[in-house]
């Protein structure tokens, strides 16, 4: 069978995602953790819609019921130097 890459950052194939769903992953977070799809440099910005569609199809749930994986900071890759050189006073801690 032709190899189709769904997550380009981590080179995760369609087959690997289907296997994880068969192994019992039922949410986007579980699927991500088992396959690394969405764990790379772009953090799922490129592949998450395709993965959600797959999860909906394989689990028989409507796409509207598939929750995206948890989004976390930073929004895009950020050099550590930006944080270490910043001013502590920038941080308003409540």
């Amino acid at each position: 069978m032709e190899e189709i890459f769904i997550c380009r950052c981590e080179e995760v194939t369609r087959k690997e995602l289907e296997e994880a769903i068969r192994d019992g992953a039922v949410t986007m977070n579980e699927l991500k953790r088992w396959t690394r799809a969405g764990m790379g440099l772009c953090q799922g910005k490129t592949c998450s819609k395709a993965v959600m569609a797959m999860l909906a199809e394989k689990t028989g749930k409507p796409l509207s019921e598939i929750q995206p994986a948890t989004h976390r900071n930073p929004v895009r890759p950020m050099p550590i130097g930006c944080m270490t050189k910043g001013d502590q006073d920038d941080d308003a801690r409540s």
């Binding site: 579980e30 088992w34 764990m39 953090q43 930073p74 050099p79 944080m83």
Partner: protein
């Protein structure tokens, strides 16, 4: 109603899944209930280290060594690559006072059979050329290892399911009661009642809520661990790293005075490990913040500053993600593993704090042996809940 299950395990983190794995290996029919996603509380929001050097000499170090051996076997037995690796670990030392404490610590660990030694400045440079020149010395143990907890859990699920495990995610337990000794009723959010003879409370930071349903005061609190993840980079050294200043403070609380008070409030100490995909986990905090899973900027800045102090080159490296998890922190520093004797059929396997990944195999194995009424090849009586938890029912 039929008792369809030999054992109901509550909690689908690495501890609950390890219990399910070894119980089904023993031929038990197991139902596992998880209120959210698999490993949602702590087991997927952590690093990947089995760091024996950070364990206090005593029962925890002893069983961590046993558990490490079990991981070697699991690496062969599980049908997924659990990325087990024996990369070794270093505890980086920055001052002569830290060195004095660490020399003492290393002596105690060696006495318990841990292969660990001290490296001088030049040897540190040889192991990791990118380490900051201010680092005075380091410990080194070739035994420290790592494993991908996400893959371990997938392996446990896969094998246990093939042996008949039924697993229900997004199924919170709302009621737990025992109408007669050895007969348990577990009620879930949708009103379903499951009956069984044995219940295992493996709910991590949520274990006290479950324990309270049968009048047990289980002293476990959620400790938040915030961690940053870098992009994939070449290794900064041969091993994974910890900073001595946090370990020394843990062993000698008076040492805290030498540290910044904010670092102490947040429980910050460097832990740095590289995943198989090349990303580094930079940790972390150990702080009581209730069930708040957010990452805050003050803590993140301090974590990154710590990491860059040891490895200045990190300043040029990108972070791609941050996250936080709830380490289930036990009142007296030791996990609760064993039966609640006054409530026949009820077992606790919770309170592993930052050692959940390292201790999962031995915990699951021990619980399965206890439930089967078989002897354990090691003494876990120090971890028995008896005498360490309070029963409300004894009051009336």
């Amino acid at each position: 109603m039929n008792k369809n299950w030999d054992v109901i395990v509550i909690g689908g983190g690495i501890i609950g899944l390890a219990c399910a794995y070894y119980l089904t290996q023993d031929g038990k029919k197991v139902l596992l209930l998880e209120k959210g996603d698999i490993g949602e509380g702590a087991s997927t929001s952590c690093d990947d280290m089995i760091f024996l050097q950070s364990k206090k000499p005593g029962i925890l170090l002893t069983i961590a060594m046993e558990s490490l051996d079990m991981y070697r076997k699991l690496a062969k037995d599980l049908p997924v690559d659990i990325e087990f690796e024996n990369r070794g670990g270093m505890v980086l030392i920055e001052s002569t006072s830290q060195l004095g404490h660490m020399e003492n610590f290393v002596r105690q660990q060696k006495a318990l059979g841990l292969d660990v030694e001290l490296l001088d400045r030049h040897e540190v440079r040889k192991f990791c050329p990118l380490a900051s020149p201010h680092i005075l010395a380091s410990t080194y143990s070739p035994i420290d290892s790592q494993v991908n907890p996400l893959h371990v859990m997938r392996g446990f699920v896969k094998i246990a399911s093939a042996r008949g495990l039924e697993m229900k995610q997004h199924t919170p337990v709302t009621g737990l009661s025992s109408p007669s000794p050895g007969h348990w009723q577990v009620t879930t959010g949708d009103g379903t009642v499951y009956e069984t003879e044995v219940v295992v409370n493996a709910a991590g930071a949520w274990a006290p809520q479950l324990a309270a349903m049968t009048g047990i005061d289980l002293p476990i609190k959620p400790k938040r661990g915030q961690i940053a993840v870098t992009e994939a980079v070449p290794p900064f050294g041969k091993t994974n790293f910890w900073s001595a200043d946090y370990i020394v403070m843990k062993l000698n609380p008076e040492f805290a005075k030498e540290r910044d008070s904010l670092l102490n409030d947040l429980g910050i100490g460097l832990s740095m490990s590289q995943s198989h995909s090349g990303t580094y986990f930079l940790g972390g905090t150990r702080e009581f913040a209730g069930f708040d899973k957010s990452v805050d900027r003050v803590a993140l800045r301090l974590i990154l500053k710590e990491a860059a102090r040891f490895f200045p080159t990190l300043e040029k490296v990108n972070i791609i993600r941050t996250f936080a998890g709830f380490r289930p922190a036990p009142g007296d520093g030791k996990p609760y593993i064993g039966p609640v004797v006054s409530q026949p059929g009820l077992y606790i396997a919770a309170g592993h704090e930052g050692d959940g990944i390292a201790l999962a195999p031995i915990t699951g194995y021990a619980i399965s042996r206890m439930i089967a009424g078989k002897k354990l090849p090691f003494d876990l009586s120090e971890l028995a809940p008896e005498g360490r938890v309070q029963m409300w029912s004894t009051i009336d």
